[in-house]
């Protein structure tokens, strides 16, 4: 983007006397005549001229605006539906669950939220849960885990790291999985029902695997003693976190998705960068090319309300979204690209005008002074 001129510095590149002074050089005090030592290395000397800067601005403009438009359109084509089921509102079906939460209750509180989709979701639909005001990025929270423990290290399993305190031991029994992150694992369960026009409900199958990073699932997280069947034995001598209702080896019936390699658990353990975040919960796979994955119509979200957010004014959401090459709906990127592109283009024009008006001055400098 800048003018270039490859020029070995032309001046006095050659010392005619160099050969004559060979005798002096022989005793080593005369500095070597190398380009490096004489600071004459060939070099590219870019300079900011109108010829380089202005095209650069126009180029940025011309590249960014189309990209921005493309991103914007793509983003707009993505279907996204979001429903807040926290239940702060008295009219909300989950209000009672929100209000009457107690850690000790054994009876799950259930609520169902009806909603309708105006447009059909054509391709695979991704179901997320979103939390707000939840500081998964708090320093003490982030470090409150033991990766070696989660990686199935047997020693760590029974000797959780200090970092996990105060969730390392419960009644002097090591906790598995230890730490604040694991302890606060999101444990609402959601089920989605399509309400047919005839008021009958059919449950939409939710795929619970494939929601975690491949590396997490296959490398980072491992059950102690390998991913064998006998998880109960593997976790012998440990107890489950205080906020949990069941031990880690009962997270799922599928042995491929149980224990530390339970994907819901893995997803939760990948802490969010910001206090408002969403995490992938389930995938609704497209069945046939004929029918949309989620046709427009009425739906019901059945929530088993286990996760308390009332104390810290948190919010819980359920999000349904389709995906494009660039991920989910993201209008910001497109708009930002269009804006930056336009500003650059505009700057280019302004600089061009300024250059036209004042630029000639620089070619006749008062150097002689």
């Amino acid at each position: 983007m800048m003018a270039s001129s490859y020029s070995a510095k032309e001046e006095d590149g050659h010392h005619p006397g160099a050969s004559g002074a060979g005798g002096a050089a022989a005793n080593g005090r005369k500095p070597d005549n190398t380009a490096f030592k004489q600071q004459r290395l060939p070099a590219w000397q870019p300079i900011l001229t109108a010829g380089t800067v202005l095209p650069a601005f126009f180029a940025i403009g011309l590249i960014f605006i189309p990209i921005g438009i493309g991103l914007y359109v793509t983003s707009n084509n993505i279907k996204e539906f979001e429903i807040d089921y926290t239940g702060t509102d008295t009219s909300s079906p989950c209000f009672s669950c929100y209000q009457n939460f107690s850690w000790n209750s054994t009876l799950p509180c259930k609520c169902s939220l009806p909603f309708s989709l105006d447009q059909p979701f054509e391709s695979n639909v991704f179901m997320y849960y979103g939390l707000s005001n939840f500081y998964q990025n708090h320093r003490r929270y982030v470090k409150s885990r033991d990766d070696s423990h989660l990686n199935g290290n047997l020693y760590s399993l029974t000797h959780p790291s200090k970092e996990c305190e105060p969730y390392a031991h419960r009644d002097n029994v090591p906790v598995a999985p230890c730490g604040a992150i694991a302890n606060s694992m999101f444990n609402d369960t959601m089920e989605l029902f399509f309400v047919h026009p005839n008021e009958t409900r059919s449950q939409i199958p939710l795929k619970r695997k494939g929601i975690a990073w491949w590396t997490d699932k296959h490398v980072k997280f491992r059950n102690p003693g390998g991913n064998g069947d006998n998880l109960t034995a593997a976790f012998q001598g440990t107890t489950y976190p205080v906020n949990w209702h069941k031990p880690v080896y009962e997270l799922d019936a599928d042995p491929e998705n149980n224990g530390f390699i339970n994907e819901d658990f893995i997803v939760w353990m990948r802490t969010a960068a910001l206090p408002t975040f969403r995490k992938l919960y389930r995938i609704i796979e497209k069945k046939s090319s004929m029918t949309p994955t989620l046709p427009s119509g009425n739906y019901t979200l059945e929530v088993t309300y286990n996760y308390p957010v009332h104390s810290f004014d948190g919010r819980k959401r359920m999000i349904l979204s389709t995906i494009s090459w660039m991920g989910g709906k993201n209008p910001f990127l497109g708009i930002a690209y269009i804006t930056v592109g336009s500003v650059c283009f505009f700057l280019g024009v302004v600089l061009l005008l300024i250059h036209h008006k004042y630029g000639n001055r620089s070619s006749s400098p008062d150097i002689a002074s």
């Binding site: 000397q45 500081y135 990686n151 690209y337």
Partner: protein
Amino acid sequence: RILTRDSPLALMRVPIQCLRKRSNCIVTSKYNIITFLPVNLFEQFQEVANTYFLFLLILQLIPQISSLSWFTTIVPLVLVLSITAVKDATDDYFRHKSDNQVNNRQSQVLLNGILQNEKWMNVRVGDIIKLENNQFVAADLLLLSSTEPHGLCYIETAELDGETNMKVRQSLSVTSELGDPDKLAQFDGEVVCEPPNNKLDRFSGTLYWRDCKYPLSNQNMLLRGCVLRNTESCYGLVIFAGPDTKLMQNSGCTKFKRTSIDRLMNTLVLWIFGFLVCMGVILAIGNAVWERKAGSLFQNFLPWDPSVNNFLFSAFLSFWSYVIILNTVVPISLYVSVEVIRLGHSYFINWDRKMYCSHSNTAAEVRTTTLNEELGQVEYIFSDKTGTLTQNIMSFNKCSINGHAYGTCTMQKNKDFSSWNPLADGGLCFYDGSLLEAVKTGDLVAHEFFRLLSLCHTVMSEEKTEGALVYKAQSPDEGALVTAARNFGFVFCSRTPGTVTVHELGRPVTYTLLAILDFNNIRKRMSVIVRNPEGRIRLYCKGADTVLFDRLHPCNHELMNITTNHLNEYASDGLRTLALAYRDLTEDEWEEWAELYRGAGRTVDFREDRLAAAYEEIEQDMMLLGATAIEDKLQEGVPETIAILSLANIKIWVLTGDKQETAVNIGYSCKMLTDDMTEIFIINGHTVQGVREEDAMKEEETQGLGKACSLGNGFSEKPKNPTSPTSLLESISGEFALVISGHSLAHALEADMEYEFVETVSVCKAVICCRVTPLQKALVIELIKRHKKAVTLAIGDGANDVSMIKTAHIGVGISGQEGIQAVLASDYSFAQFRFLQRLLLVHGRWSYLRMCRFLCYFFYKNFAFTMVHFWFGFFCGFSAQTVYDQYFITLYNIVYTSLPVLAMGIFDQDVPEQRSLEYPKLYEPGQLNLLFNKREFFICITQGIYTSVVLFFVPYSVLSHATQSNGIALADYQTFAVTTATALVIVVSVQIALDTGYWTAINHFFVWGSLGSYFTILFVLHSDILFSLFPQQFNFLGSAQNTLKQPVVWLTIALATVICIAPVLAFRFLKVELKPQLSDTVHTLLFHQKKRKPGVSLGRLGRSGSHRSGYAFAHQEGFGELITSGKNMRLSSLALATFASRHSASWIDTLRKKKHGNIQNTPSTPPAPNFNCDC
């Protein structure tokens, strides 16, 4: 033998036993092997920055505070400490080496009656040592005896005070008889003397020997640093040794020099530190609020630590945690990087072939590597004269005989005189065929001209071997004149107190020397009265044209005019001129005057004045012969260098121990003073401290200065003096120069005059201080440093320049001449004065530019890096969670971003070296400190903060809702960290690419290499293997792969980069476009039209016919008397015994009296006489 000393106040004798231990060993090194580690570490931890990092390290060990792992601080700290330690060790090693070299010089010490070779360092106070001709004096010695008659010996003190003429020292008569070692061994005198001090020209003490007291003065002392000349050998008693010697006392204490950038940097670091505390406080308050509002409610998921039970304590801890996290705004690698860059620049100076002098085979040498960028900011240069500006070689250059100018044609190198004159000296460079012809054909005036030169002088000759005459001239001027006469056939052969023998065109002629009318400063001439073998009496006189022309016979008028023209011509070439004249005396006239002269000589009171009057009497009605012009050979390229440097707005001062006339002459010849200067003020009031009646004189002097001020300032209310040059306008626009003598300077430097003096000199373009002592040189520099806040550079070659070299911000030593004291004390040394322009305009300018660019970028990148944490604080509950991976934080400054900026700091160039010499104005930004100052710093950190905002909020906005293309949410912490870090590395790399003006292969390698290393290290750190080995430490497993394959991430990075860089680009473009700096223009110009010729004429070599006195004899009075008294003659050569009868009084007493009188009584010449009387 017991030697004692006392303080002058309390005459208390200290037995020498304790002083005896004083050895002559000089130690300038700081460490030895054992003390190195503790002392060096202690010194390093005196650096605020290092202590600060140590403190951080300790903080990090507290688990509640530790927001980073311990290695993020200790790795850089250890790196920094060890690099500095290695450098210090190397420096000290070289100091040890040079100390050893000096300390191991050999000298002959008389031990138990036998002369033994001893190293200098083993010489002790009280030892008697033997010196031989041309040896350096090892310590301050009391001269006991010498091989010359009367215990005389000659020394050259150039190393000490810069004066090159020889000086005479004489031993006490009682000790001068102790000629041989046996007698000396029995010498058991006792010396009581003043304590060691730095006064070179004073010594007082008493010798107690054989129950007698003998006063000792400086006349009996040989000081360390002097060189014994023209004396076969001598013996001396060591009075002061090692650090007590006057030389060492004068060298002042070694100060650690810091550059102004260093100081600025320290201030800025303190500011940043304050800023850091502010941020810490803000975030701690935020933490308190958050913990109270949100954190306390969030305890179900994240309970407070048991020890931290309330939000205030939590805030307190969070403050320290943030201090740790944000510590990278005070960049630890800053100091070490700066050192590395300076080291690089130093090597470039060492390697510069254009600063290599093939003649003396010395390359430039950087002795202090920490000052380079200050070379780009010099405003004042203080230069020594002898040996620095001049070569200290006088050459007979031109002459005008009877109205004919000779030697004007181009110099033919070294014509062989020996063909017709076997006694000719091959060393003379002057040759003019027509003159030789004139001499051969018997031109009487030419003969008389050279006869004068061969007779009228105080040179001593010595015939070492047959036909090889060696002249011992105590001033090089005289030597040159006599040598010139010698080559033209008038060979001065020998002298006795009463005769002078000259070979005139091969024929020996002996003249009877009737009188020597000696030189002194007021007379500015010397004469001899001789009787030739035919019995005719003739007075030969040579002297300053101004005085001589007044005493010519009226019939010389026409010739005088012609000669005056010639003299003007010579003077404007900066040559030292002398006019020559003779007068025939009749026997009666002579007798009559001789009576008067003897009468004057006999008087006790006002002998001086009476003699002067007598001289005046006879030096009348003289016939002009012609004039000579002697070149005080300048070093190569001096006028050009001075011209270029003054075009670069550098003020050049000459500080010399030499005479005013000599100094002014050199000022002219090297174009410091020019005839088109409006006014040259000369201040040479003499005042002696302690004398009350001098008040009036001081007043006068003050007036002189005041006048100068009112002229110089131009803005003072009204010109008080009607004679002052007319209009205000003129006095503003005019160029002024100031010549001030050491005596006046002493007053000017007093507290009450200081300010006025500075005011005056600051309007002067050139200042010459003559007759200054080494200490005064330092004081002048101190004054300028204090008042002008300007960067000063001192350049000199002798030991007398050491104090000034050490005082100035930058000291430069000229090497390759005699002596190495100046070089040892200097920061830079090279062989030729002209290399100074390259040192300043090329290396200095580049160093400054590079350092400024480096610092700007460095602060920028650290702010961009660190401030992201600050913004993140608002989104993570002010919990001191880092945005980046801990390895990234550790490696960012030392791996990912260090090398490109180092490469820029070492290799960058804005304009080629050739151009910075062609356009000296390019030097100005450095003097004005435009490239890096507080304003620039704020711009840099603003840019850094802006970048950090972009780097945090763009990923924040994009990623908070984004998902991967497989539906997994992107906003997890690790993805965010990788995205931000990658964007940061890319943005700062693009920024360095913009900042780099000179892309060598190395820059390419480093910039691309840094980017490459970032990605490589990233992938390695996030790899499976490391995780499986240390799952706790490398838990970012897979982040790099997962994150960097997302198009959204790359789009985010591109967006952030453009948002960061585009404004900078636009801003820079506008700056070049609307307010181009000269360097931009030159650069652009070069780019557009490479072949355009520069329109700068170097050096305004204007000449006009001004008339200056050229009598610039580096001459000392008293030698005439010395000769006629015959004291300095070897007995063997004293054929005639006449000497005994005349002037039997000890010449040395008279000499001393005279000198004393000079100081006491000589009234000051009126201040500011105008030297510039146009005619």
